[in-house]
């Protein structure tokens, strides 16, 4: 646990960076949420709890709940789709692994916003996907594929899937696949071996995936703005509305603070879990 002086000096620049550009601005945002708002969008004098009290307004729990379930569902689906891919890639020859990695990174060559707008074309009411679904009898001709929470979920999973595959693959690559053969020798079914041996074996990757999918999705703004409908706002959209339309900075700050608290919770949970796991498997080695 003891750090040498050299280590301390090395971490000073990054600590100073975080302090000046992250922690202090965060505290300022918290502070502004306790100030009254001026008539023309300024920040008023004095202090008030009014903004925080107004967060009990019934519209917020609905938005917070929608943000949470969309983020959780995105994370679960990304892991569900990412795990088999990571498993398959880890068993491929190195040449194929590299080709697959390239394919997974390929979407990033196109701008994020352009890819979201492409979904609007794909899901157009006269578009190909809709026509196929109607032909197959899976969708009503008047059904709307866009502008609802399901469209948001679809595009969120699409956007974040590469971020789940990469850490899962990194973990699966280190996994000793002989363990699966051992499990099979001892009578476990394929499925049982996958879930009881492989999945726990890549748990570090699962935790990373959870952190790098769940937390950014919580703050989504562009995706619900572009493919979401009149009843699918997320917290990010509300914050943007408060800043750009209502010009109510204290209110935007309070919402940002709520978002920060929601983000901190899984982060802390992740840290605690990691430490607990480190203690359990690492034989008391300090994390």
């Amino acid at each position: 646990m003891k750090k040498s002086r050299g280590q301390w000096i090395l971490s000073v620049p990054s600590l100073a960076w975080l302090l000046a550009l992250f922690l202090i601005p965060c505290l300022l945002v918290f502070a502004v949420s306790f100030r009254p708002s001026g008539p023309y969008g300024g920040i008023g004098e004095g202090w008030t709890l009014e903004t925080w009290r107004s967060l009990t307004n019934p519209s917020y729990p609905a938005i917070i709940w929608r943000t949470l379930w969309l983020s959780a569902a995105t994370t679960v689906l990304c892991i569900a789709f990412g795990l088999p891919v990571a498993y398959a890639m880890a068993r491929m020859s190195p040449a194929w692994r590299n080709r697959m990695l390239l394919l997974i990174i390929l979407p990033f060559w196109t701008n994020f916003l352009i890819r979201i707008f492409a979904w609007r074309t794909l899901l157009h009411p006269d578009g190909l996907i809709k026509q196929v679904l109607v032909q197959l009898g899976l969708a009503d001709p008047n059904a709307q594929l866009l502008y609802n929470s399901w469209a948001i979920l679809l595009v969120l999973v699409y956007s974040y899937l590469p971020f789940s595959i990469l850490p899962l693959y990194a973990a699966a690559e280190k996994f000793d696949f002989n363990l699966l053969d051992a499990a099979r020798d001892l009578g476990a079914s394929r499925l049982r071996a996958f879930f009881s041996v492989f999945v726990p074996g890549v748990s570090a990757g699962l935790l990373t995936t959870f952190l790098i999918v769940f937390i950014p999705v919580l703050g989504s703004y562009a995706i619900p703005d572009i493919v979401g409908g009149p009843s699918s706002e997320m917290i990010g959209n509300k914050i943007a509305q408060r800043v750009f339309n209502d010009r109510n900075l204290p209110h935007a700050s309070a919402l940002s603070a709520v978002l920060a608290l929601i983000v901190l919770t899984p982060l802390l949970a992740g840290l605690v879990l990691r430490r607990w796991r480190g203690n359990a498997t690492g034989g008391g080695r300090a994390a």
């Binding site: 008539p39 023309y40 009411p125 709307q144 562009a222 572009i226 750009f244 339309n245 010009r247």
Partner: protein
Amino acid sequence: MKKILISILAGSVLAGLAGCGGNKDLPVLNVYNWDDYMAPEVFDLFEEQYGCRVILDTFDSNEAMYAKLKAGASGYDVIFPSSYQAYIMNEEGMLHPIDHAAMPNLVNVDASYLQQTAIDKAMAYSVPYMSGSTGIAYRESAVEGFVPSWSVYQREDLRGRMTLLDDMREVLGAALKSLGYSLNTTDKEEIAKAANLVIQWKRNIATFENEGYKQGIASREFYVVQGYSGDVMQVIDQNEDEDIVYVLPQEGFSVWVDDMVIPADSDNIELAEQFINFMHDPEIARLNMEYNYYVCPNTAAYAVVDEELKADETIFIPEELQARGEMIRPIGDDLQTYVEAWDRVKAAP
């Protein structure tokens, strides 16, 4: 969102081009305007005549522009806010007064507009640039039995194929007009009734859209959209699509005016004054109107503008229809009632 990014890109590209091409010693005029709002040749004419360079930066909402200025953005010489926003900027001491002696073309400004509609009637801190209306555009071939009324948003057969603007004053304003109230009302009960009506409309619309509706109606994704007059006419013109029709709803509609103002911290007030004056040269105003399909309140320009444009009642709104239009005005602290009503609309199932 898309518009913001595109504006930033376009702004920086334009700034970059102007920076490379022009002579470095020429004075520079920094203009902050809405996108696609000024005929490109007007810039060239001004640069030639006054021996300067014009650099254009764009914004897509009054609030975003104001937020940027409040956050410390400076260096602009002419800005184009809507009248209600210009009023707020003046209240906040952000504007330089208008010197009428330096702008002889101001005599061309439509006196009846100033008298009846304008917020800044004396042009003390702003000069009007263009006015337009907010109405409904629809696809004639896709909507049977269309009636020019806001009640179209109650039609369940069009569910999912209509949009409203993502703008609380415009949308609640449309509902207020439908109910026969003023769209500047501060009566809590009237605003609550309007919000209830919008909640009914909301069940039938695909989404609240400020920019995407243009592409949406062009690609037949949407059949009915709430939009700005000139924007819709630019879509019709660019796509040569006569199936799209713009109407002014019979219950009433909002009219608005974008003004030209000089920020107090401008470094080049003389050139800014020349620029504003130039915009009210009848020939220049004509070029702009024929480009953007809005109306420059300039009596001398009315005489020279294209006859076809002048005959279009959705552009040059005849007097008997003008009474149905109402301008969105600043309402100070009462805005909070609208914010709360709008929150209720957004949260409603």
